[in-house]
């Protein structure tokens, strides 16, 4: 016990006296979490808040053009530009401006587009009447397709493009329904002149109510902070692998490890002291990062991090994530022969673990094979556990499975380090 305590004290002294290293250990994760959350905040904002500029060239001057124009203006999602320096934008100019990246989207509504819709609607009404052996009453029944051209900046995100397309489809389908109903009503009036024409009224029969599913009574609103703080906290905590592996390699390089191996007390005692100290560091990092979410992010105009009621679950997840990270650091530090090897392999492998874990792109959108591989990423387990707490209101029982996986990972990593160390003795 004295050996372990003394080793822990020595590790603490070495750590505390490396002021620059200490600053990097605590300041860099905070900078990382702040920057990443602020950057990623935009993707969580509604399109209304982002307000992207868009060119509209309305050559129709009839119902379709009006419907699209009114819909776009009314949505407030976009900043609509139809003129530049008092001059109407043409299709060519629109294409050029979007190609240059000055505008993200350019919508070109062709001439006589409404006439084309009207012809299509009338043809449909006549066809319906004919099925009841009623002669067609509508004229101008030419069926044709309408090509609304949309110029898209290649740099634009797919999700934004899809949002614009679905908005346009919504405006046009509403117009088609209205036109069909109005024309149908007019046709009926022609057949039954005594009847009062039916006036079209828009109505909503289905309303969508968004409720974020949570196991607690209180609904947790997902936002950039609730998503990003746990994600980047996990990522930053795993970066403890680098100083820990570096510490082990430095001890080996400066000969201290040689002396330690010739002294009573096993390799495990020395490693446990390092794990204990670096686990403490990762836990402090975790608390600091949560404090940034709670106190500093609101001051920067971001939502405040809601920690929720399950503090024990949070503590268990923090400790198991810290243990997984330190175990990984011990394994890399034991196996790598140089600082360069440890730093390169450590950093790249953490980024791979993070990518597989869903830190950047959610696992549910990944290809099937990657989804299977991601199940073996410790950052995936950690992120799932933290999302259970921060987004789904999960308690200790909910996160036990993920915490267990992280602990098993820690044991495996430590086992690898011990086996490798013993293997080295037989060289």
């Amino acid at each position: 016990m004295l050996r372990l305590l003394s080793s822990i004290y020595k590790e603490l002294l070495v750590l505390i006296r490396d002021r620059a290293g200490l600053a990097i250990l605590f300041i860099m994760p905070l900078v990382l979490i702040l920057i990443m959350t602020v950057i990623q905040d935009a993707t969580f904002k509604t399109v209304k808040e982002v307000n992207i500029s868009m060119i509209l060239v309305n050559n129709d001057k009839d119902s379709l053009g009006e419907a699209i124009s009114d819909g776009l203006y009314a949505s407030e999602f976009f900043q609509i530009v139809e003129e530049i320096n008092g001059e109407k934008i043409t299709e060519e100019t629109a294409k050029e401006l979007v190609a240059k990246g000055n505008y993200k989207i350019g919508i070109i509504i062709p001439e006589r587009a409404t006439d084309a819709i009207r012809g299509n609607v009338n043809a449909l009404i006549n066809k319906s009447f004919k099925s009841f052996n009623i002669p067609g009453v509508k004229k101008r029944t030419k069926k044709s397709t309408i090509d609304v051209t949309i110029y898209i900046d290649p740099a634009i995100s797919n999700s934004f493009k899809n949002m614009v397309m679905s908005s346009l489809e919504e405006f046009t389908s509403q117009l088609e329904i209205e036109m069909f109903f109005r024309n149908f009503s007019e046709a009926m009036a022609q057949l039954m002149p005594d009847q009062k024409p039916i006036k079209f009224e828009s109505f909503e029969t289905i309303k969508y109510q968004e409720v974020y599913a949570s196991t607690t009574e209180k609904e947790i609103l997902p936002n950039s902070v609730q998503h990003n703080v746990p994600a980047w906290t996990m990522f930053a905590m795993f970066f403890i692998v680098l100083p820990l592996a570096g510490n082990i390699i430095k001890e080996r390089d400066d000969g201290s490890a040689f002396r330690l191996k010739t002294m009573p007390g096993s390799f495990v005692t020395v490693m446990f002291s390092k794990i204990f100290v670096f686990l403490g560091v990762s836990f402090v990092q975790f608390i600091l990062m949560l404090m940034v979410g709670v106190y500093i992010m609101p001051a920067l105009g971001l939502p405040q991090l809601e920690i929720g009621p399950h503090k024990i679950a949070l503590g268990v997840m923090a400790l198991s994530s810290g243990l997984a990270a330190t175990g990984y650091g011990v394994a890399i530090g034991t196996i790598a022969t140089t600082h360069e090897q440890a730093a390169t392999f450590g950093a790249v492998s953490i980024i791979i673990f993070a990518a597989l874990g869903g830190i950047w792109v959610p696992v549910y959108v990944m290809p099937h094979t990657i989804k299977i591989i991601s199940q073996f990423s410790p950052l995936h387990w950690g992120l799932n556990g933290f999302y259970d707490i921060f987004l789904r209101g999960g308690d200790l029982m909910v996160v036990l499975a993920e915490a267990g996986k992280l602990l098993i990972f820690f044991v495996i990593m430590l086992g690898i380090a011990i086996v490798y160390n013993n293997y080295n003795k037989t060289k």
């Binding site: 050996r3 080793s7 037989t426």
Partner: protein, 252 residues
């Protein structure tokens, strides 16, 4: 446990590193008695470090047996480690810790504690003229001071056997003299010393017996004076060394 006066016994000891067909140690038999200062001399790559590493328990031999005070590492690793002290050639200390903090840490690992440890640290620091620098960080020490602290860290627990790997390399005459004098005093108290060096003159004066090894084999062994007297052309240990190991340059 074997009952004999040899504190170290090497029996038919061989070591092949993995992937190598050339033995680093080739069937060595060696007995070192209690209270000896035994010098392992040889050119670079002769097998000195491999021998010392096996004697410290860093790794095992490919074949043969090692008995330390009658015990073998396979069965009594912890016991053996508690009776040996190692002074590596590198300054195996924590540069950001003070001399006292380093020694306290290593003392604790040897099981020393409390007042006994404190007294022992003070005693050693005074013995090697470092008492005024006890609270200075190692990284601020001169080369000679670092060597002395490196030595103290290996003898703090009063081991039965001390392994010294080039303990005086790269230091001034004053530090070298202090180190060798104190090592002789420690030896007089009954401690066995196993020593490697490239300084033949130092080895000749310091060691009670020496073995000159090359290519993993012991080429000659005995008391320095007896070896020198063995042939007319031998004037000192260095002439013997050059005569039997040759003048060809050696790489590690």
């Amino acid at each position: 446990m074997q009952e004999n006066q040899h504190i170290i016994e090497l029996k038919y000891l061989s070591k092949y590193y993995k992937g190598s067909n050339i033995p680093a140690i080739d069937n060595i038999n060696l007995n070192i008695d209690k209270g000896e200062i035994y010098g392992l001399l040889g050119p670079n790559g002769a097998g000195k470090t491999t021998t010392i590493s096996i004697l410290c328990g860093l790794f095992g031999p490919t074949s043969g047996n090692v008995f330390i005070d009658g015990m073998e590492f396979q069965h009594s690793s912890e016991k053996i480690k508690s009776i040996i002290g190692v002074v590596p050639q590198e300054i195996a200390l924590y540069p950001s810790l003070t001399a006292k903090e380093n020694l306290t840490f290593f003392g604790h690992l040897y099981g020393l504690k409390g007042k006994h440890l404190k007294t022992r640290i003070d005693e050693c620091l005074e013995l090697f003229g470092l008492e005024k620098n006890a609270n200075r960080r190692i990284k601020t020490f001169s080369g000679g001071m670092k060597r002395r602290i490196n030595l103290i860290a290996g003898i703090l627990h009063k081991p039965k056997i001390i392994y010294l790997d080039e303990p005086t390399v790269g230091i001034d005459v004053q530090s070298r003299t202090v180190i060798l004098e104190h090592l002789k005093n420690i030896n007089k108290e009954g401690t066995t010393i196993i020593y490697t060096s490239h300084y033949m003159e130092e080895a000749e004066n310091f060691c009670s017996r020496v073995a000159i090894i090359d290519q993993g084999k012991i080429l000659t062994e005995g008391k320095p004076k007896e070896l020198i007297a063995g042939k007319e052309e031998y004037t000192d240990l260095e002439s013997i060394f050059l005569n039997i190991t040759g003048r060809a340059l050696r790489d590690e």
